[in-house]
């Protein structure tokens, strides 16, 4: 069990700096997910924590100990890789036991530990099989077992579910979640799949080109995205962005444009000023309105079972609204929409104007 402290960590390949001044404290027993688009530096930072990648600058502490330049075996870390990375020439038992054999542990003790882990992961039937005889999900379970057996201080996962099909991904995700609750090991988990991040994380670290865009719990990140990048990245279908003006009128601030005119609740924002602004609304937060807030024309309707996804033409752009099943206007019909005040996001220079804690 250990805390991880990253202070000013940097990584350069030659002259190219891919991570600079990365600062993050990960609490003991916390499940932190690094989320971000491809090339944002998720793996690089994870591998620096693992000790597989040289740290070019800054200090890394695991459990109060400075491990910046220690090899992986002295860091108390275990890692699960995207492509499983099992030893193909060893059977399941030996794959899991391999790390313990180095420690010259008595065979009986190794066997007992392996049995424990194997039972926890439901791998009893496969002990004598080679990795190539197992399905992807089983292989990744073996890899998780190999990581667990060392009772590490820190668990590292680099996109462990990306090579699995959707159904298995979902099942194994649940297992990882429950496993973490049971063994309570500090975990850093890399993914580019936001739903995975939402489901697993105590805290999400959203990365973009080696920088932290935002750190927060899944609900914080979903409800209070600090920047337009975060707002766009999180949530599916993704947020609608509408360009317009903030105008001050006799009865308060309003958001105005060619096809829309909505009141704004001043108390929710830090610093409302007249001028250009981008309004962000999540499709799931859209509602029908009777007072002509946002007016558009339905150009497509997708039936999603318990709800309908409407594509609406609004001036020169298209927005999406997810509405209850009962509301199914004809294609071509005019429609008027709005959203609750506390679900509106106003971005000026790509920064959200919401008042923190509002």
């Amino acid at each position: 069990m250990a805390k991880i402290i990253c202070s000013g960590i940097a990584k350069s390949y030659g002259n190219v700096e891919v991570v600079r001044d990365f600062n993050l404290d990960i609490e003991d027993k916390e499940f932190v997910v690094f989320l971000g688009p491809s090339g944002s530096g998720k793996s690089t930072i994870l591998r620096m924590i693992a000790g597989l990648e040289e740290i070019s600058g800054g200090v890394l502490k695991i459990g109060e100990k400075d491990v910046t330049h220690l090899p992986p075996k002295d860091r108390g870390v275990a890692m699960v890789f995207q492509n499983y990375a099992l030893y193909p020439h060893m059977n399941v038992y030996d794959n899991i036991a391999f790390g313990l054999k180095r420690l010259k542990m008595p065979a009986a003790e190794i066997k007992q530990k392996v049995d424990n882990v194997v039972e926890m992961l439901g791998l009893q039937a496969f002990l004598k099989q080679k990795p190539s005889q197992l399905s992807g999900g089983q292989q990744q379970r073996v890899a998780i077992g190999r990581a667990m057996i060392k009772t590490p201080e820190v668990f590292l996962f680099d996109e462990p579910l990306s090579n699995l099909d959707a159904k298995l991904r979902h099942a194994l995700r649940k297992e990882i979640h429950q496993l973490h609750k049971r063994i309570d090991t500090t975990t850093v988990y890399v993914t580019h799949d936001q739903s995975e991040a939402m489901a697993l994380a105590d805290r999400i670290v959203l990365l973009e080109s080696g920088n932290i865009e935002q750190v927060g719990s899944p609900t914080e990140i979903f409800n209070y995205p600090r920047t337009r990048f975060v707002a766009d990245f999180i949530g599916s279908p993704s947020m609608n962005f509408i360009e317009g003006q903030i105008v001050k009128t006799d009865n308060g601030y309003r958001f105005k444009g060619a096809d829309f005119d909505m009141a704004l609740d001043e108390s929710l924002y830090d610093d409302l000023q007249q001028g250009a602004v981008t309004l962000g609304i999540r499709p799931v937060h859209m509602q029908l309105s009777d007072d002509d807030a946002i007016n558009g024309e339905v150009i497509d309707l997708e039936y999603l079972g318990n709800e309908n996804s409407l594509t609406i033409k609004l001036g020169g752009q298209e927005i999406v609204a997810v509405l209850p099943e009962g509301i199914s206007p004809k294609v071509g019909a005019k429609i008027s929409l709005t959203a609750p005040q506390d679900k509106l996001h106003l971005f000026v220079n790509d920064v959200n104007l919401y008042r923190v804690g509002a």
Binding site: P72, A78, Y87, H89, L103
Partner: protein
């Protein structure tokens, strides 16, 4: 195009089967004929009408094996080829691993140099070596042949082992690092066993290469260090009365070791050509 070809070459069609059958007979015939003749007496071989039924004799083999020249040559071949293979593997395999896994400065140049050794005509290697060995007083010794053949086996083994090690995924080695193992343990316990089948193929391949080697051996040996191919070829020089039976027997003795390994090699070539396991 490829698909059409595949349909055309459907091995279950009777016509294709017949064609294949004749191709096999055609290409195997000389080999089979040689084997049969190696068990015949000379009179049975030189009859104008080929004899299909004859009383087989081991004479030719007994004669070949009882000749001191052959015995020495066989020993020479075994010692020289064996040593060259062993040294070539012990030095070549770790070298290939280093070239495949570590970014060594000039690594690409080393790879190319190793490759270029194999493209030089044998004479271009043999003449300077001949001069050097004469100077050192090593000419026509097993030692000089071992050194020369080690150059061949080592370069071949390096060249063929690099892809074998490149196919070992980096993350598997990293898993070993995370499991706490150092670079030597990673090499011996992870990479080497994973690459072993392909490495085995590389060793066999270079074995065949040096076992059959003729030109360099011809130039670097005169008496003491002659290898089997050289001595076997000399049977043809025994005069006008060519001892066909003996010749056939020595051909069989010479080809047997490479033939035995042919199966192993074909699996290996398949793997290389497909680019994966």
């Amino acid at each position: 195009m490829g698909e059409k070809m595949a349909r055309f070459l459907n091995f279950n069609q009777p016509l294709v089967k017949i064609i294949l059958f004749f191709l096999v007979v055609f290409s195997l015939f000389p080999v089979v004929w040689t084997i049969i003749n190696s068990f015949k007496e000379l009179v049975d071989i030189v009859t104008p009408i080929p004899k299909l039924f004859f009383s087989p004799t081991m004479e030719n083999y007994i004669y070949v094996f009882s000749r001191p020249k052959i015995q020495i040559a066989l020993m020479n071949s075994v010692i020289i080829v064996g040593s060259a293979l062993m040294i070539g593997s012990i030095m070549g395999i770790p070298a290939a691993y280093a070239l495949a896994k570590y970014k060594i400065r000039g690594g690409e140049d080393i790879k190319f140099f190793v490759l270029s050794l194999r493209f030089l005509p044998p004479v271009a290697i043999a003449i300077p070596l001949m001069a050097i060995f004469l100077d050192l007083g090593l000419y026509d010794t097993k030692m000089s042949m071992v050194i020369t053949y080690t150059l061949l086996t080592m370069s071949t083994i390096i060249w063929l082992s690099i892809p074998a090690f490149e196919q070992v995924p980096q993350s598997i080695e990293e898993a070993g690092i995370i499991d706490g193992y150092g670079p030597y343990a990673i090499f011996f316990k992870i990479s080497l066993p994973i690459a072993a089948p392909a490495l085995f193929g590389a060793i066999i391949f270079s074995f065949v290469l040096v076992w059959n080697e003729f030109l360099i051996a011809l130039m670097l040996t005169t008496f003491d260090a002659k290898t089997l191919p050289i001595v076997a070829s000399e049977f043809t020089l025994l005069g006008r009365n060519v001892p066909w039976g003996i010749l056939n027997a020595s051909v069989i003795i010479l080809s047997l070791p490479p033939l035995i390994f042919l199966g192993a090699i074909s699996g290996f070539l398949n793997r290389i050509l497909k680019g994966n396991k």
